[in-house]
């Protein structure tokens, strides 16, 4: 390893490849988080409607979340081979715990006087849910999405070991060739992507909750 730690010329020569892996990484993040939310949201509504469901649902999501990432990815191989689904299904399952819990806690966290006021004004249950409780739960739900997204971005890289990987492929490339530059580029981009996603979601929350902004 006589070569210097970082080599800008490699970066310039491989912009296309870097961009492609970054785009792939984004897809492998957005799809699982999106699917995860689509699954967690009805589960959360059901947990509010039938509170007895909540504990078992959370339990199952918790067990899934506790399985080591690499183990869950490879367990998928017999079912889905080395396809994208092998990466996406476990990544989706990992988001469930956080998204389910934060959505339920967010909805439950609406102060009871607000809920009662809405009832007293004659809101129906569904209308109340979408007009009152959901908007007020936005900050907690988004907090959940932020954690899920940042976690997923870190996990995606591992899927390079099962033939997917996004920026993880840059890690493997650098590692196999004993050449740090792609590895460092991958790591830096992965962290930057996490930070950008986190800030982006914070921005979304800001837009969705005008009542929480400081005056002026």
């Amino acid at each position: 390893m006589a070569q210097s730690l970082f080599d800008w010329s490699w970066v310039l020569d491989n912009l296309g490849e870097i961009w492609a892996q970054l785009a792939e990484h984004i897809v492998l993040t957005v799809v699982p988080v999106g699917l995860g939310f689509l699954m967690a949201f009805p589960m959360a509504l059901a947990s509010i409607r039938w509170p007895r469901l909540y504990s078992p649902l959370l339990g199952v999501a918790g067990i899934l979340f506790s399985i080591p990432t690499l183990a869950l990815f490879v367990v998928m191989i017999p079912f889905t081979g080395l396809s994208k689904a092998t990466a996406i299904i476990p990544l989706t399952l990992y988001t469930l715990l956080i998204l389910l819990r934060n959505t339920v806690e967010g909805l439950k966290g609406v102060p009871s006087h607000v809920r009662e006021a809405a009832e007293a004004m004659g809101y129906t249950r569904t209308r109340q849910l979408f007009r009152i409780e959901l908007p007020l739960a936005v900050p907690v739900i988004i907090a959940g999405l932020r954690i899920a997204t940042v976690n997923t971005i870190a996990y995606v890289a591992i899927t390079a070991l099962i033939g997917q990987g996004g920026l993880g492929n840059l890690f493997m490339d650098g590692f196999l060739r004993q050449y740090p530059t792609p590895l460092i580029v991958g790591l830096v981009l992965s962290v930057l992507l996490a930070v950008a996603a986190d800030l982006g979601l914070l921005g979304v929350q800001h837009v969705l909750t005008p009542w929480q902004r400081d005056p002026g």
Binding site: M1, L5, G62, I158, F175, V191
Partner: protein, 237 residues
Amino acid sequence: MIEVITDLVAWFADPVNWQGPSGVPARVLEHIWYSVLAIILAVVIAQPIGILIGHTGRGGALAINLSNAARAVPTFGVILLTFLVAGIGLVPVLVALVVLAVPSMITNTYAGFRAVDRDVRDSAEGMGMTGWQVVRRVEIPVAMPLIMAGVRISAVQIVATATFAAVVSLGGLGRYIIDGLAQRDLTEVLAGAILVAALSLLTELGLSRLQTLVVSDGLQAESEEASMEAKLEGSTG
């Protein structure tokens, strides 16, 4: 599918897989060895820092930001990079495992201290406890649910992440997965995955047992809440 299962059963039944330096007992011991070393190092580094910033209240925001940032760093990549920079050996892997476990332990301990009721601390001081007595007799025991939750989550994470040691030519249960993938031996891959999952489950169970033991009965409810909180906020894998 049935075939996969019968192959797996056959793998676990094959005495060859239970003998010698690449047998299950040896691999499990290696895996435990890496993990225990990393956990102990992380505790020894993180807890005094967590206690210090928890007690004084200074540096808390920094710790929280650090641990959020740590969550965004892919452990997998860090292990590969340390290997490239420092060469083959246990030390680079340990460094990577410890560095990524420490921030979340610190934040949990810090959060535990911050969650100690102002009035509880106030009356401890008002009764004439010295600074250190407040820490030892009140703050640590009251913060114990979160301290233990942090240790538990970090430990499970370390056990899971130690799998990547195999990627950089070390042993442990990751060997089965990495070698299996290289040789397209799905059975071996799955056997490795099952063993890793089982070991991290055992770690989880063992440490939650320990948590119940070291947390006062007066705080068991807080303890459950703390475990969930720590699990959600502190994972990299």
